[in-house]
């Protein structure tokens, strides 16, 4: 490979779209699934929520690398040949939804009992109460933990190269292997790219916390200003 340093950096940058694609879809789908599982996960009846507890336990217990390889070759054994990217998204959704439902469950349990009584006493229909009153409060306490999780997914996405997903770490490795001259510069460049992407998540967190008024603690007994 006779390319200039500029070309090499550009090709790493274009591989960042692979990283972004993987992380974006994994986060979006796992957040939706986590949210959909939460109403069941917070039910009092242990038998109703047991399947979700078992799933969440397994999803959090397995290393991401194991899940990536497991899903990729699992599908091949089942006769389904998925593109590496699709298999990787499925693996990360499986992993991250397990964390997400735990975060939402904890957030739900943190909503004061009085809020549930308040909506009941007003005669609000359950689903309007859940969506309009309870869910925003769950989301509000869950945001910091969700973003922490998202940064983990971003960093773990580098592992997806083992099943042939073209993302930025794999691309850097490939370039350095064939032309080791710029190794230090290229790896530093890679580091900067991760920092930039992570910063994007932190900015999202800041925005969400402002929108959701994360710092508005319920029932703070503050004195008259």
């Amino acid at each position: 490979m006779n390319s200039t340093l500029g070309d090499q950096m550009l090709s790493i940058l274009s591989a960042a779209t692979g990283t972004l694609q993987l992380v974006f879809w994994s986060l979006v789908i796992s957040t939706i699934i986590g949210a959909l599982l939460t109403p069941v996960a917070v039910r009092k009846n242990i038998w109703v929520r047991l399947p979700i507890m078992v799933y969440s336990w397994i999803g959090r217990a397995l290393p991401p690398l194991t899940l990536l390889i497991g899903f990729y070759f699992g599908f091949i054994y089942a006769g389904i040949r998925l593109p590496g990217m699709t298999a990787a998204i499925i693996a990360f959704v499986f992993l991250n939804a397990a964390y997400t439902v735990e975060i939402f469950r904890a957030g739900y349990l943190a909503v004061p009992k009085g809020q549930f009584e308040g909506v009941k006493a007003l005669g609000l229909p359950p689903w309007r109460a859940q969506l309009g009153i309870i869910a925003p409060q769950v989301l509000r306490v869950s945001t910091p933990a969700l973003i922490t999780n998202a940064t983990t997914v971003l960093k773990d996405s580098a592992l997806a190269s083992v099943i042939g997903v073209m993302e930025m770490t794999a691309q850097t490795q490939r370039i350095v292997q064939s032309a080791p001259g710029h190794a230090i510069i290229l790896y530093s460049y890679l580091a900067v790219l991760y920092i930039v992407l992570c910063s994007g998540l932190f900015i999202l967190q800041h925005y969400l916390e402002k929108r959701l008024k994360v710092h508005r603690r319920p029932q703070a007994l503050r004195r008259k200003p």
Binding site: E117, G118, A121, G123, L124, R217, P218
Partner: protein, 263 residues
Amino acid sequence: MTHPTDDTMPLVALRNIHKSFGDLEVLKGVELTVNRGEVVSLIGPSGSGKTTLLRLINCLEMPTAGEVWIDGKRIDAVEKNGRIVPAKEKELRAHRVETGMVFQQYNLFPHMTAMENLIYAPRIVRGVSKDQATAEARTLLTRIGLAERAEHYPNELSGGQQQRVAVARALAMKPKVILFDEVTSALDPEMVGEVLEVLGELAETGMTMVLVTHEMQFASEVSDRVIFMDQGAVVEEGPPSQIFDAPLQERTQHFLRRLHVRR
């Protein structure tokens, strides 16, 4: 199971109410009637079942035995095909709209401004338009002296202000009766007065009110009737002058003496 409504019929009637939590029987055959426009205070030692009784009126708790009647209609159970069956959650919900409740801990929605707290349920439950709900909420906020705080979030308000907003939120639903469960107990002493003032003004408008309270002075001023409860039963009831100045029952005398009530 409805009788023709007439204005002489009690608005709230609890008939021979028993309530147990597991093995613990906390209400042992209680009768309670509240007439239209009447202000009734429930007093008694902690654990005597006052909160439970109040929560039975709007079916936040269901009786183990006995009947709950509101405005001439049986609420806790309904007649279906000639048999009496427990009311469904949906039927209870329709009933709760008519019985407002204010809690000790305010329970305002923390992610909504005072105004949003007031208009949310009327819009959804009563189907009121946004403009109308907002106009009515403004009137209510003015009445409780918080018109200029409409756009503030609960944590930007003092405890007393939050509780006044909670009263207004209950009023916004236009209930037939409002239940108050120790609404000043969580407040700093200097904020108790402003909340009691709002309740006193409300009583003067002819609102039907049931209050659980430890504010004996206030109870004696606003109540038409005071009910003293102990160990899950009504011990004595009567006009405030009787209960506070000349209680007939030994247990009432004992309770009031312990509170150092001197008038």
